[in-house]
Amino acid sequence: MSQRSIRRFSALGAGVAAALVTLAPSAKAPRAASRNPLYILLPEASFETVRGGDEVYALICAGCHQPRGEGATGAGRYPALAGSAKLAHGAYAIDIVVSGKGAMPSFKELLDDEQIAAVLNYARGVALGNAFSPTLEAADVRRARH
């Protein structure tokens, strides 16, 4: 049995498997379904039609970083995005969303270049109390994928 199949058989049933399929190699439901025998009627959420940075943020990022980017603290913490020096550094911010960091998964399969640029521009803008420039472009994200 391959290493990949190990993860499929976690307690979450298809759970961790589905999460893995989402967060790691592929976000496309049909492929995921065909690769994962445990993919019991569990559709991936498709974010393809979610184009606005504000919408992507609300659906995907807000759960951890919180609606206004205020972050949250418990035994560990989700860093605040409002006033974040790391977010101010565009290339660094792109790299975190593309590659993940620590507990944060990579979003390179779930989101395309435009979506990543859009959500970062949203987070770097006034909505989260920031005024970081320049505006990031899909091309910047594409370069970071390699």
């Binding site: 976690s10 049933g13 589905a18 569990l42 759960g63 035994a75």
Partner: protein, 511 residues
């Protein structure tokens, strides 16, 4: 050895509790985290004669192995507080809920510590399979999908024997046996057809069941069309139960999953410091010091010294803590993202799934973004209220669920579930939703090791690093299972004990 023979499909390699005999006097071990990995480490080390203390962030033991009951109050990250409104005796397991019969380590602790178990129903033939894309959204019974899929497959195979190349794969005698077997296995008729028949109704159920008295005669049921099973993917609902992980018998502790942690804690005595948030781990050749914020004293920072540290803090959190360790261990700790999962418990005025639908335990599956409905596996035929699992969502849909408020999560679970059980709106009373990315004590449901990260870092994460050794679900190949937490803890304390004995010998030899 092939990987599969290592039991990676989920079977545990546990054989017996570790033998930690000959522990030197007065050696202090500090355990970080009082989830199952921490509790088991503390239990075994203390039994062996070590001086053990445990630091735990929460005000309770168990970590992810957790049960919510009426009156409990839970505040998630983002500060929304839910007060659980369940009635007397009702509960909901927001994390682990089932234990396979082959998770021997967990079961052994249950046996030793007297944790009562009862069956957890995974496959219930009378539970529902639902797809919004199948049969106009009408749910069907698991037994119907199971019988029909099996029947059609048997028919196709039986008929193709003799016609095709399949013929060459079996000799004549075997072919006759196989056809006979398929006829029985698939409930086929004389012409090898899967059709409306007494035999197929005995599998999939009758429209009007057999009875007694003057009109006992049944009405046969008509199979679904094969394409209705294939195209919307209803067949996928048949898969989980075939995995060894979900095969009969599975168990659950009577009264809630937290009974296991509580039972171990009872054996430990007063060695757990609650509300203690570890913020730094220092170590050198002589020992370790751990700094924690005492949340009972407004976060005042205190320090504890120990000879050794067993750290079971999830990597999602440990990766943010200031700790002394080799670069290799640090790199491993930072290489594991944590997944999203959401579970929602719903209380209803009455157990309508039993009273109206004859569903006793088990799981209904659906393509709606609640994914599963889990029915309680105890108190069958009870007349009072009942709590069911109204959603169990993971992967990308769970990200979205985690982003909305808990109140909204519950509301969605009720409105989506109503498409499967129309009784929902009138019977619903209250609910509680746990989004694991927002759990302050784990920041996620489980570590999601990638193949590449595992190849590069796993061993370094498991290795004893100076005075520090890690344990927990994340240091196992049974990720997101309690058994993985137990096995990692047992292995960590066994190796640690050996290291301590070696050191003691070394010191003795020098004098």
């Amino acid at each position: 050895m092939a990987m599969s023979s290592l039991g990676l499909a989920g079977e545990s390699n546990y054989r017996a509790a570790p033998d930690l005999s000959g522990a030197p006097q007065g050696v202090r071990v500090l355990v970080l985290g009082a989830g199952l990995a921490g509790l088991i480490s503390a239990y075994e080390l203390r039994r062996a004669g070590y001086q053990v203390e445990v630091l735990e962030y929460n005000s309770r033991v168990g970590g992810r192995s957790w049960t919510l009951r009426g009156g409990d109050v839970y505040t998630e990250l983002g500060n929304e507080t839910q007060k659980v409104g369940f009635g007397e005796g009702l509960y909901f397991n927001p994390g682990p809920w089932r234990i396979p019969y082959h998770h021997y380590a967990i079961l052994d602790y249950c046996r030793k510590l007297g944790v009562a178990l009862e069956p957890f129903v995974q496959v219930n033939h009378n539970a529902l399979v639902h797809s919004s894309k199948a049969l106009g959204g009408r749910p069907v019974r698991y037994r119907e999908v199971a019988a029909d899929f099996q029947g059609y497959v048997a028919e196709l195979l039986a008929k193709s024997l003799g016609q095709s190349k399949l013929d060459e794969a079996v000799d004549k005698e075997d072919k006759e046996i196989l056809i006979e077997a398929l006829r029985n296995w698939g409930a086929l008729d004389e012409d090898l057809r899967y059709s409306t028949s007494f035999a197929s109704s005995m599998r999939r159920g009758f429209d009007k069941p057999l009875g007694g008295g003057i009109d006992p005669f049944p009405t046969l049921s008509k199979p679904l069309a094969l394409e209705d099973i294939l195209r919307p993917g209803l067949w996928q609902s048949l898969l989980p139960g075939s995995l060894q992980l979900f095969q009969t018998t599975l168990f659950q502790p009577v009264g809630g999953m937290d009974q296991i942690a509580k039972a171990i804690y009872r054996e430990l005595g007063d060695i757990v410091r609650f509300d203690a948030k570890v913020v730094a781990i220092r170590q050198d050749e002589r020992g370790a010091r751990v700094a924690y914020e005492d949340l009972r004293a407004r976060g005042e920072v205190r320090e504890i010294a120990a000879d050794w540290v067993v750290c079971t803090i999830p990597l999602s959190i440990l990766s943010q803590i200031d700790f002394d360790a080799s670069d290799a261990l640090k790199a491993g700790v930072a290489a594991v993202p944590y997944g999203a999962a959401v579970k929602i418990g719903l209380q209803f005025r009455r157990r309508f799934w039993e009273e109206d639908d004859l569903i006793f335990g088990g799981v209904t599956t659906t393509d709606l973004p609640i994914h599963q409905i889990g029915y309680p596996n105890s108190e069958f035929l009870g007349r009072g209220k009942g709590v069911l699992l109204g959603a169990y969502v993971f992967g990308s849909p769970a990200l979205e669920y985690s982003s909305i408020s808990a109140v909204e999560r519950v509301r969605r679970a009720v409105s989506l579930g109503a498409r499967i059980h129309p009784q929902y709106p009138s019977e619903f009373e209250n609910g509680v939703a746990v989004a694991w990315h927002r759990a302050p004590f784990s920041l996620g449901c489980a570590g999601l090791w990638s193949d590449a990260a595992r190849a590069e870092h796993y061993k370094n994460v498991a290795e004893i690093d100076g005075r520090l050794v890690l344990a927990g679900e994340h240091v196992s190949l049974l990720p997101a299972w309690q058994e993985g937490a137990a096995l990692s803890a047992l292995d960590a304390v066994t190796r640690l004990h050996k290291r301590i004995l070696e050191k003691a010998e070394h010191v003795a030899a020098k004098h």
